[in-house]
């Protein structure tokens, strides 16, 4: 049904091209192991020193019917020899393991991009399942791409003729054939994956051997058949000197929490209820018990939060993690922590809403929820990491602020950075600051009045942490309004005003304790692009390009959403226009308008997908009223330009 590329003599006559930047997407059925293939390619690329950024895209269904569109799972990785900030708008290379994967992902592939397809899966039945009337490999519809049809399943089976595995298990190895081909194509070593397989299947050596054999077969297929005329090289990125690892957002979040636990001497207690996309944090911490971490899978979101508050009351670092729907359930308990002024870190790994929404798709639409979604006047600090690796730093910050100010702190991550990975320069342990919570001791007891749990630190306005078991500190706290100083129940009108003011002032004072907002680019100008959270990568790409094109545009990124950095008003006042791209309908823009009365230009997007550099770039031109430069698109793949190949 397909024409193979004519055999070519081995390697010698092939061209070797050096690329600065390439985006590869592995797409297949959810049973095809695409996440694994993608992460192996990423890890290997990280180890040889590329900068990289990844974007997994998996279906909500655990096992949707095989071969169908809802069952398609994909993993995109961008590797580069320079500093990058996003997994790329569109792939240069698409590996499609079946017709459904092709159908769902082809629209993103850049013209002239490389398309590797598993022809064995292009049966009439599978084509029908994917909604194809005709075989796209035969009807000329792929003419814009460089198509490499490969019988992945057939070659895998042939490679494993002597393996003791059954056919089904053999077929499961075919993703490694594709991986081997990509390793060859992009000149990557196979050692790291081979070692990983040997370890992973230490107890099932026949599986490890089969996958390794198929991986090598993929490499050899390219080497021998000459299916590909070009090989590519992506040189190591010029990153800051240091020791690096690849890290995912939720992993970094877990590491940041543990690091803060160590630096504060407070054992970490996580109360959580499984929810996408936050569950990985529970899994990650549950596997770190040797760090003194206790994880509690509660009966519901409410109990998860309450248990964390109970642990905090006892002197532990209480943390709870969820996504929007779970945060809604925790609201009442978070408010209790506001009232009793105990530490609590609430991680919200946001997903597309409202209601159940799109659990596996990303969004930033819980900002107003965490700021205002509780009864009464209930201010809490809110921080937001800007990238997967930044989750480490901001988790550490969330803990620091919570313990220092005796206040629940919300950390807003999202599905995009939770599951995305990038290289992370590992900070030396000594470089992390100590966190010293202020405990009440027996000395805190006043001779006449006894222990006063609501006497505050003059600078932070935090009350002391009075831990049960400390002699002389017996006291009662609760959700009823507290009398100033004594903490007794009070309905006094003036006291309620005072306590409300104090709780607000305490949070406001955090602004004195966090970095100022930094501007990248000129400190004044026509336009400031102001983002928060996971949009940073795309914003950097778009703004840098616009700056190179000569526009007066700068950018700044908020990692602290409440309180805002103390210089925010000055920063906003330094630009004629402010553009706020966010994956919601304009929530930060609303807050900024209310605060500054400035006409903030909102750029909302709620498609369950991150911003693309290109759309931001175009928006910048639109806002500034400038005509887009010619050839402003990034449409054509840089790796496809030299020769175009038609399969027919």
């Amino acid at each position: 049904m397909t024409t193979h590329a004519p055999p070519q003599p081995p390697t010698a006559e092939r061209s070797q091209e050096t690329l600065e930047d390439v985006v590869i997407r592995f797409a297949g059925d959810s049973g095809d192991g695409m996440q694994l293939t993608g992460s192996q390619f990423s890890n290997t690329s990280a180890l040889i020193g590329n900068d990289l950024s990844t974007l997994p895209d998996f279906p909500a269904e655990i096992r949707a019917p095989a071969g169908t569109l809802p069952g398609v799972s994909a993993f995109q990785v961008r590797i580069a020899s320079h500093d990058i900030h996003t997994p790329g708008d569109a792939p240069d290379v698409l590996v499609a393991m079946n017709p459904a994967a092709l159908k769902k992902n082809l629209r993103d592939l850049k013209p002239s991009g490389i398309l590797i397809v598993n022809t064995d899966e292009f049966s009439k039945r599978n084509l029908n399942k994917a909604g194809y009337d005709a075989n796209p490999l035969e009807d000329g519809s792929l003419g814009a791409f460089r198509v490499f049809p490969v019988e992945l399943t057939t070659i895998t089976r042939r490679t494993l003729e002597d393996s003791p595995l059954d056919t089904k298990s053999k077929d499961r190895c075919k993703n490694f054939l594709a991986l081997g081909m990509c390793y060859w194509m992009f000149s990557r070593p196979m050692d790291s994956t081979i070692e990983w397989l040997s370890q992973k299947f230490g107890k099932r050596p026949e599986i490890a051997e089969a996958n390794i054999a198929v991986l090598k077969a993929g490499w050899n297929y390219c080497d021998i058949t000459g299916a590909f005329q070009s090989r590519y090289e992506v040189e190591p990125a010029k990153l800051e000197p240091g020791t690096y690892r690849s890290i995912m957002g939720n992993q970094a979040l877990a590491a940041g929490l543990i690091a803060a636990s160590y630096k504060s001497g407070r054992p970490l207690f996580l109360g959580a209820y499984p929810i996408t996309p936050a569950s990985d944090l529970l899994h990650e911490l549950a596997s770190k018990k040797e760090y003194g971490v206790t994880t509690f899978q509660a009966e519901d979101e409410i109990a998860a939060c309450c248990a964390a508050i109970g642990a905090s009351f006892g002197g532990a670092l209480g943390v709870t993690a969820s996504s929007g729907p779970g945060i809604a359930l925790k609201a009442e308990a978070m408010n209790l922590a506001v009232m009793v002024e105990l530490p609590l870190v609430v991680c919200n790994v946001q997903r597309a809403g409202p209601s159940t929404g799109m659990p596996t798709k990303t969004e930033q639409s819980d900002l107003l929820q965490v700021l205002f979604g509780r009864n009464g006047e209930s201010p809490v600090p809110v921080v937001a990491p800007a990238s997967p690796k930044d989750c480490f730093q901001m988790a550490f910050e969330a803990v620091r602020i919570s313990l220092k100010y005796m206040v629940p702190v919300v950390l807003l991550s999202d599905g995009y950075i939770a599951n995305g990975a990038e290289p992370w320069k590992i900070p030396p342990v000594d470089s992390l600051p100590d966190i010293s919570p202020r405990f009440a001791t027996g000395d805190s007891v006043d001779e006449d009045e006894g222990f006063l749990p609501y006497v505050r630190d003059e600078v932070t306005l935090a009350r002391p942490w009075a831990v049960p078991g400390t002699p002389g500190l017996e006291h009662r706290i609760g959700g009823l309004e507290k009398a100033d100083r004594t903490g007794n129940v009070s309905y006094d009108p003036d006291n309620h005003q005072r306590m409300t003011d104090l709780r607000a002032e305490k949070v406001e004072r955090v602004a004195l304790d966090i970095p100022e907002l930094e501007i990248e680019g000129d400190p004044t100008g026509d336009l400031l692009v102001l983002g928060w959270g996971s949009t940073e990568g795309a914003i950097i790409g778009a703004v840098q390009r616009a700056q190179k094109a000569g526009l007066s545009v700068s950018r700044a990124h908020l990692r602290y959403l409440n309180p805002f950095p103390r210089n925010i008003d000055a920063v906003l006042a330094s630009f004629d226009k402010v553009l706020v791209p966010e994956m919601n309908m304009g929530q930060l823009a609303m807050l900024l308008r209310a605060r500054t009365l400035k006409n903030i230009v909102s750029f909302p997007k709620v498609q369950g997908l991150p911003f693309m550099r290109q759309e931001l770039f175009e928006k910048i031109y639109e806002v500034l009223g400038e005509p887009l430069p010619e050839e402003s698109g990034e449409a054509v793949s840089s790796i496809g330009g030299k020769e175009s190949r038609d399969v027919h």
């Binding site: 180890l47 690849s246 003194g292 109990a303 109970g310 009351f313």
Partner: protein, 356 residues
């Protein structure tokens, strides 16, 4: 963790947890806070408060080791009146909060005060889960079969047909049987007592205090404002002997004014036998609170008026490792196996590379 309950030694000053200090001789007053008690005059809660304040001094623990946690409702004002650490939390959530506290601080003596609305309605989920986990907390469930603090709506333990402000034509929903619910959730210690039977209540509280794991105690408590006389059938001096069945481990189930009646089993059906008909204590079920199977306990929970006397005392008391012990054993086992986690190693993760 249990030996090092709040971690420490990792960078910041650690408060004392009171371990190793001498236990003074306490009395009831030591456990009374300076707060004016504000239940309605005549409320059954007063007797429960006095009983608890009377029992805590006997438990051989320093005062600062006690934590009383409550939810919302009349009964949940309890912590304010106890001179211990106290936490008046949110509606129904006390067991969840107590679970977090006890799990991270097994050295503390954690008691929960809750009511029938707090624990059986809005907090029903947390109650069954704390019971199935067997967290080492003592739960005092004040059952007055009415919502008091919100002024008199029917509760999940109100009898069918209850006329209240929210059910002017009578309530329609069947009540929970708290003992059966607790047993169904796998509770390892279940007991029932009554507010006015102070010595009995104190005895039950002592037993609960000795139990490792969750202790669930239903306390019949009279709300003299909104549901007065709810328990008169067992609290009136005239009726009491006839209508109460005191459970005693190893003793036959005998009751009545002159100890002249008993409970026997006919197949799986309990029935009342009268000794005047030629039966004797030897024909009665011998009470076994330690039976591993909850069957007998469940059967006792189903002895309801008017056909049966109301069982009081310990319905079930079996040994099972408490949750906090198991959780901390896992942490200790990992530390034992892998050594105390090294932060540098954690940050480095698996594979790293150098950029020079």
């Amino acid at each position: 963790m249990s030996t090092d309950p709040i971690g420490g030694g990792m960078g910041s000053p650690v408060p004392s947890n009171g371990d190793g200090l001498e236990v003074p001789k306490y009395n009831l007053k030591d456990f009374s806070s300076d707060q004016e008690v504000r239940w309605c005059p005549g409320c059954g809660d007063y007797a429960i408060l006095k009983a608890v304040q009377g029992v805590f001094p006997d438990l051989g623990l320093r005062k600062e080791k006690f934590v009383v946690i409550s939810g919302i409702g009349c009964s949940s004002r309890f912590p304010y009146y106890m001179n211990t650490f106290g936490f008046h939390t949110i509606h129904g959530r006390a067991p969840a909060l107590a679970t977090g506290l006890k799990t991270s601080r097994p050295d503390l003596e954690v008691w929960v005060a809750t009511g029938d609305g707090d624990s059986m309605s809005i907090g029903g989920n947390h109650l069954i889960h704390v019971l199935r986990r067997n967290v080492g907390v003592k739960i005092l469930m004040f059952n007055n079969r009415i919502y008091g603090l919100t002024k008199g709506q029917y509760s999940p333990t109100s009898e069918v047909g209850k006329r209240t402000k929210s059910t002017p034509m009578g309530s329609l929903d069947n009540p929970f049987n708290p003992l059966a619910l607790a047993l169904g959730a796998g509770a390892t210690f279940v007991a029932r007592t009554v507010d006015i039977l102070v010595p009995h209540m104190k005895e039950v509280l002592h037993r609960a205090a000795q139990h490792k794991g969750t202790a669930f105690i239903e306390i019949y408590q009279n709300c003299n404002i909104f549901n007065d006389h709810a328990f008169t059938y067992i609290t009136d001096k005239e009726n009491r002997q006839a209508n109460v069945l005191y459970l005693e481990h190893g003793k036959p189930l005998v009751f009545g004014d002159d100890q002249d009646r008993g409970i026997r089993l006919n197949g799986l059906e309990p029935e009342v036998i009268r000794f005047e008909d030629g039966y004797g204590p030897e024909d009665c079920v011998v009470w076994d609170e330690k039976a591993q199977s909850p069957t007998l306990a469940f059967l006792a929970s189903q002895l309801l008026p008017p056909h049966f006397p109301t069982p009081l005392g310990v319905i079930r008391s079996i040994d099972a490792p408490p949750y906090e012990e198991l959780v901390n054993q896992q942490v200790e086992a990992q530390i034992e196996r892998l050594g105390r986690g090294d932060l540098g190693e954690l940050l480095a993760g698996g594979e790293t590379w150098e950029v020079g």
